[in-house]
Every structure is written in structure tokens, then in C-alpha cells.
């Protein structure tokens, strides 16, 4: 009981500190974190597909883009207000996810290739449907976001919007992970044969995971559109899909916390190595290799280990183990 309160308090404190950012930070720091949080939202979606259901998707950027363009087109060309555009973006990306989910008939590396192929095809649509998306020259003139009459034009307000969406997403994912759906997914990830033997409908759950993960990617896309007020196909390619997977695994594939940590850390760190030029990318790659070699559970895994080693965490852990009878 105490542990639940403790971790919930930690969460609230973290959210409050994050929400207070616009008060004490210059705008460029706010936008740095807005972008980081948008990526966190994207990677959290990936975590459902890859982390929980165990299906590595190499086409995640396609849904980021589907959401982005849907929101962009609706808000600029049809005057749809931002919250509705965001929902539509989620729906469009979810629909795309449904299409891609025919690939669940194949597993593992074959599934990964199918998602890679899907991502490339969708990107080509962005590039070639010039009348709809503006093509490779980009989609400009996206209006500022607004919650009905409340304008979210300033960077501080937009950051708070992104934060709010992220908190909602994270909370719902943690709930889902702890609930029946999440447990079923993890069962599937651990051992598909065993999962099937206890009556879990693999295909149905995998499809649901994909659609859910893609829907959230769509939301992230809408957030990116409102943030940048620009979209172009080069932002939604295989490279970005790989970046998403990398952020997830570096952060820790097994939990939503990993997705969050990975996205925020990598996006902030890579942005700040800009002065090093090409060397920065080499360092970036080296950090990824080192993280994979020494932190198999990702950064979140490391955080958890440090937590357990600390006196407070250790006690919490022992109590939990005693309670569960696994000490």
C-alpha cells in the first residue's frame, strides 16, 4: 500500500515539475522538450506493439506521418478544430494499422520486413500524392492549434498540451499493461505456444495491439503537426522508424517507462551534440552500442536496479516480495 502511494506521489511530483517548465525555462528549452515529449508519445505507441506484444515494427514512422498529414489537411483545408483533427489523426493511423495488421499472420523477422515494406509504401504515397500532401516540397500554412476559443499558439501552452496528452497516454498504458489485455500481450511475447494453449486468441490480441499502438502514433503525428506547423515526407521515413525502435530499446523495451525515458533522453542528447557535426553521429552510435551491451534492460532497467539497490527501494522491494511470497 505504502509503495503504491510512494510511486504515485513520485509520478505526481514529476508531472508537476515537468508542467512548471514553462515558468522557469527559456522558450528554446521548452520546444526541445515539446519535441522530446512528442517522440515519447510516438515511442509509447511502439511499446504496445513491440514491447508488450513482442512484434518489432519497422514501419512506425508511417503512422506518425498518417496522423500528421491527416491533422494537417483537416486543420488547414477544412478548418477542423485541433482536438477533432487529433482524433481524426488517431483514427486514420489506426485504420492504417488495421491494414498493416494483416501481417500478423507472419512472425518475427518476417513481420518486421512486412512492416518495413508497409512504411516505405506509405512514405511513397506522401511523396507522390502531391495534390493532397504537397509532395516532397512539404505542407505549409498549418494554422495554430486552438482548443475552441482558447488559443494554444504560444510554445509554453503547446508544451502543456503535449504534456497533458502524454500523461493521459502513459496512465492509460500503465493501466492497460497491468490489466487483462496487457497480461495477455506479455504472455504472447514470452511464449506464443503457451499463450495459445491457455486459450489466448493470438491474432485478435496482436491486431488490437497494433491498432492501439498505431493510433497513438497518429496522435503523436497530430501533435507534431501542431508543433512544427509543417510536414514533409522526409520526416516519416525508415530512418525515423529505426530511430523509434532504437529509442524504445535503449530506454527499455519492457515497459512504458522505458519508452518514455528512451525517447526523452535520446532526443535531448542527440539535439545537444549538434556542435560536433559528423562526430556527433558516431558518438550517438557508440552510446547506443554501449547501452545495449551494458544495459540490457535499457535505461529504465538501470533506473529500476538503482532503485532496488537504494535503501528505500530495497525495502519496498523486499516488502513486495514478502507479500507475493517470492522472497
Amino acid at each position: 500500500m505504502a509503495e503504491r502511494i510512494a510511486s504515485r506521489t513520485t509520478m505526481v511530483v514529476v508531472i508537476l515539475i515537468a508542467a512548471a517548465l514553462p515558468l522557469y525555462a527559456p522558450t528554446w528549452v521548452i520546444t526541445l522538450f515539446s519535441r522530446a515529449l512528442i517522440f515519447a508519445s510516438l515511442v509509447l505507441g511502439l511499446q504496445i506493439i513491440a514491447g508488450q506484444a513482442g512484434q518489432i515494427s519497422l514501419g512506425h514512422a508511417a503512422f506518425f506521418g498518417l496522423g500528421a498529414y491527416t491533422a494537417a489537411i483537416l486543420s488547414r483545408d477544412y478548418g477542423v478544430p485541433f482536438p477533432l483533427a487529433m482524433l481524426a489523426a488517431a483514427a486514420a493511423a489506426a485504420a492504417g494499422g488495421l491494414v498493416m495488421s494483416v501481417a500478423v499472420r507472419v512472425r518475427g523477422v518476417y513481420f518486421a520486413i512486412a512492416t518495413l515494406a508497409f512504411g516505405i509504401v506509405v512514405n511513397l504515397l506522401f511523396v507522390n500524392l502531391v495534390d493532397i500532401t504537397g509532395g516532397a516540397r512539404g505542407f505549409t500554412g498549418i494554422p495554430a492549434a486552438a482548443l475552441w476559443s482558447f488559443s494554444i499558439e504560444s510554445q509554453g501552452r503547446y508544451y502543456l498540451l503535449v504534456l497533458a496528452v502524454l500523461v493521459l497516454q502513459y496512465a492509460s498504458l500503465v493501466r492497460m499493461a497491468g490489466g487483462r489485455f496487457g497480461r495477455a500481450l506479455r504472455c504472447i511475447r514470452e511464449n506464443e505456444l503457451a499463450a495459445r494453449s491457455v486459450g489466448i486468441d493470438l491474432v485478435r490480441y496482436k491486431i488490437q495491439a497494433i491498432v492501439a499502438g498505431c493510433a497513438w502514433a497518429g496522435v503523436a503525428g497530430a501533435l507534431m503537426t501542431g508543433f512544427l506547423r509543417f510536414a514533409s515526407p522526409e520526416m516519416f521515413t525508415l530512418l525515423q522508424s529505426i530511430d523509434a525502435v532504437t529509442m524504445l530499446v535503449v530506454g527499455g523495451i519492457a515497459s512504458p517507462l522505458g519508452a518514455l525515458v528512451g525517447a526523452v533522453v535520446m532526443s535531448v542528447v542527440t539535439s545537444n551534440m549538434r556542435s560536433l557535426g559528423a562526430l556527433a553521429t558516431v558518438v550517438d552510435g557508440l552510446l547506443i552500442v554501449l547501452a545495449m551491451m551494458y544495459l540490457p534492460g535499457g535505461l529504465a532497467g538501470l533506473a529500476r536496479q538503482l532503485w532496488r539497490r537504494s535503501s528505500w527501494g530495497g525495502r519496498h522491494d523486499r516488502e513486495r516480495q514478502l507479500g507475493e511470497g517470492t522472497a
Binding site: P26, T27, W28, V29, T31, L32, R35, V127, N128, V130, G135, A136, R137, G138, T140, M224, L228, R229, F230, S232, E234, M235, V268, V269, S271, N272, M273, R274, S275, L276, G277, A278, A280, T281, L287, L290, M293, Y294, L295, P296, L302, Q305, R309
Partner: protein, 404 residues
């Protein structure tokens, strides 16, 4: 002494690799390894967050977002060369009214979102006085929102998409002729002057290619010419033979190249290998040495509209520039380097004339009459675009030679 401490740092990582790496158990060496990397990361992050007010306040700070990695890395790199060369020249002569020029170059990775963050940091963290914008067109379209309200002024090298100056941005200037002028220039030469009636178009399916092939096609149609076939290709295509066959089958009289040096060089080379000996027309990106290197002998005879080329220059100012540049850097300046050079001198001039804030800089730039740059005479229009004469060059012996 120094060597020893370096190996001491290296040791924790080595023992971690060969020693215990059990999952779930943190050995001290593993922690040290991670700690070292985390410290390195934190240090790097800290240097970026720390406001770099190390330079004197008197300096004129020029922020330069440039693609140093990604698709346009070539252009970004040479643009930086040109800018730094100009700055070194000016500073050696004492700077501008005693103030030194300070160039801050940051890689925007040819990514629109990154470009936006870079420019924002220039404005707020680095507090630059002016921006020498070497970002791509899409990067610029994304990041212009940051400087639209209150500046600083941006003068662009690469952002030649006409949309950049159609956005009602009071502080945006593009010092290079835009894609419309480039495309129409070569179309005028090929269709009007040379009277060619049927064109095949090789369309590079990204921002520049999509823009310029449309401009070209629309323009040649006004002269009664037609496009017999348009073959689009993805940026990293290397095998063009199937596309060339398709274009050739449509029986054009000439082929238009809408892409960059690497892809266009391969197109021309493979066309000759297939025995297609139609004339080729192209635009600015093909005047770099890369094009002739990749195409080999096939490059000869290709006619290109360009904003600047070093070979065959006769203007004394430009000749002097090329000579000095070559002496210092060992190669001729390319079109991006030359434009970046001119932009630095433009900036120096307006600051020298007393401009300080964004509005005065913008106003002074607009009122510059016939600024004598190495790339030609520069006059800015009201919307920030520049009207410069396009040159037509032909590649002869691997080098571009002025023909118009």
C-alpha cells in the same frame, strides 16, 4: 603522466567487457563504465545548455544552420567553407567597425524539425545578430516561423524554393536565384533559343526535383514544346537504365535532368552506355565537380543553367576571390561557397553602414542597390527574393564553360 591517466579511464570499460556481465547484477566496473558515459553525455548536454556568452558582446554573431549530415551534406559543407573564408578575410582586415565576425555553424541534419530547434536556439540561447541560412528549402519553410515575428534577419544560400519568399516574412532573404528562375532559364535556352520541341524529363522525386521539373515542363509548353515522358526516381536510385529506356522509347529530342550531381551523373553515364546520345539539359546542382567525376566523359555537352561557376570567370572581383580561395583551401569555390561568401560580405556591409536590429538590417538589405558580389550583382526585391541573371554553361572537358 597523461598517457597513464588515459589508460586508467579505459580500464573500467575493458574489464567490464571481459569480466562479469551478468544480467541483473551490477558490477562496480559496469557501473563505472556507464557512469563514465553518462558523465560524458551530461557534459556535452551541459555545454549546450550553458549560454555561450564566452565570446565578447562586441562580436557580430552570425548563426548558420547548415545540413552537415543527411541528404544535402555536400552543399552545407561547402557553404560553410565559403562563409568561414569570407569571415576570416574580413576579420583579418580588422572586422566591421572594429567588431569581429563570429560564425556559429550547427548541423540541422537536413531535418525540418531539427532545423527549427537549431534556429530557435540561435535566437534565444546564442542570441545571434543575423542568420546565414544554409538549411534546405523544406528546413527553411519549417523554421521560418521562428524568425517571422521579430527577426533576426535570415539570408539564405540554399533555400531556393519560391515558396520561401511567398510567406510574407519581413526578415527572410534568399541570395540565390530561386527554382523558378533557374528552371525557366534553362527552359528558355532549350526550347526558345535552341528550338527543341520534345523533351523527356528525369524527375528526382524529392523537393527540388519535383519543383524544378514542373517549372521546366510548364515553361517549355509556353513555347509550344511538349514533354514526351516523365520518369520519376527516388533519391538514392543508382540504376537508371530501365528509366532511360522508357524515356528513349518516347522519342524525345532532348532529356531534362532535374536532380543533383550524383544521380544526374549516373543518368548521363548510363545513357551513353545504352547508346542514347540525346542532348541533356540540367540546372545549378550539376556544376559541381562531382557531376563530371561521376559521369566521366559523358558529362561533356551537358548544358546547365546556373547561378555561379568558377571556371571561365572574367569578372576581376570573382577571379581574385577564386584565386585566394584556392590558395587557402586547395580547390575552387563552388556555387554554395560563393553565395555564402557574398552573404557574409552583404552582412558586413549593412552592419558597417550602421544597421543593428532586425528591422534596420532588413530595410538596408532591401535598399541595397547593385551590391557587387562574386556571384554577380545582387538586388533584393520587396519579398526578399533576388533577381539575378542566370548563366548558361556547357560542360566541356569536365569543366563548366560559360556560353551565355
Amino acid at each position: 603522466m597523461k598517457i597513464r591517466s588515459n589508460t586508467a579511464m579505459a580500464r573500467p570499460v575493458k574489464t567490464a567487457a571481459s569480466g562479469a556481465m551478468e544480467l541483473g547484477r551490477l558490477s562496480a566496473s559496469k557501473l563505472a563504465a556507464f557512469g563514465a558515459s553518462a558523465l560524458a553525455v551530461a557534459a556535452i548536454a551541459a555545454t549546450a545548455f550553458a549560454s555561450p556568452a564566452l565570446a565578447q558582446q562586441k562580436d557580430i554573431r552570425i548563426g548558420m544552420p547548415a545540413p552537415l549530415s543527411g541528404a544535402l551534406a555536400n552543399a552545407g559543407t561547402t557553404a560553410r567553407e565559403g562563409a568561414q573564408f569570407a569571415i576570416d578575410e574580413i576579420n583579418a582586415k580588422g572586422g566591421v567597425n572594429g567588431r569581429k565576425l563570429n560564425l556559429i555553424v550547427v548541423d540541422d541534419k537536413t531535418d525540418p524539425a531539427e532545423s527549427t530547434q537549431v534556429v530557435r536556439q540561435f535566437v534565444e540561447a546564442d542570441k545571434v545578430d543575423v542568420i546565414l541560412n544554409a538549411a534546405s528549402s523544406t528546413g527553411t519553410l519549417a523554421h521560418m516561423a521562428v524568425t517571422r515575428a521579430a527577426g533576426p534577419v535570415e539570408v539564405s544560400v540554399l533555400a531556393t524554393d519560391p515558396k520561401v519568399t511567398q510567406g510574407d516574412h519581413p526578415y527572410m532573404f534568399v541570395a540565390a536565384a530561386n527554382n523558378t528562375q533557374l528552371g525557366e532559364g534553362i527552359a528558355d535556352y532549350a526550347a526558345r533559343e535552341k528550338g527543341i520541341k520534345k523533351f523527356g524529363v528525369m524527375k528526382l522525386n524529392e523537393a527540388y526535383g519535383q519543383n524544378i521539373s514542373k517549372v521546366f515542363a510548364d515553361r517549355v509548353k509556353t513555347y509550344g514544346a511538349s514533354v514526351t515522358s516523365e520518369q520519376a526516381y527516388a533519391p538514392d536510385t543508382k540504376d537508371f537504365k530501365p528509366l532511360l529506356i522508357a524515356v528513349a522509347d518516347s522519342k524525345p529530342d532532348a532529356i531534362f535532368l532535374s536532380g543533383f550531381a550524383n544521380d544526374s551523373g549516373l543518368i548521363v553515364k548510363q545513357a551513353r552506355e545504352l547508346g542514347i546520345d540525346l542532348p541533356f539539359f540540367g540546372t545549378n546542382p550539376l556544376v559541381v565537380p562531382q557531376f563530371a567525376k561521376i559521369a566521366g566523359a559523358a558529362a561533356d555537352g551537358v548544358v546547365v543553367s546556373t547561378l555561379y561557376v568558377s571556371a571561365g570567370q572574367t569578372r576581376p572581383k570573382t577571379v581574385a576571390f577564386i584565386k585566394a580561395f584556392n590558395a587557402k583551401l586547395g580547390h575552387d569555390p563552388d556555387v554554395y561557397a560563393a553565395h555564402a561568401y557574398d552573404i557574409v560580405y552583404l552582412i558586413a556591409k549593412v552592419f558597417g553602414d550602421g544597421a543593428g536590429d532586425a528591422s534596420s538590417i532588413a530595410s538596408q538589405l532591401r535598399h541595397q542597390v547593385n551590391f557587387d558580389g562574386v556571384t554577380g550583382t545582387i538586388n533584393f526585391q520587396e519579398n526578399g527574393a533576388v533577381k539575378k541573371p542566370i548563366s548558361i554553361v556547357e560542360i566541356k572537358g569536365g569543366r563548366p564553360v560559360l556560353i551565355r
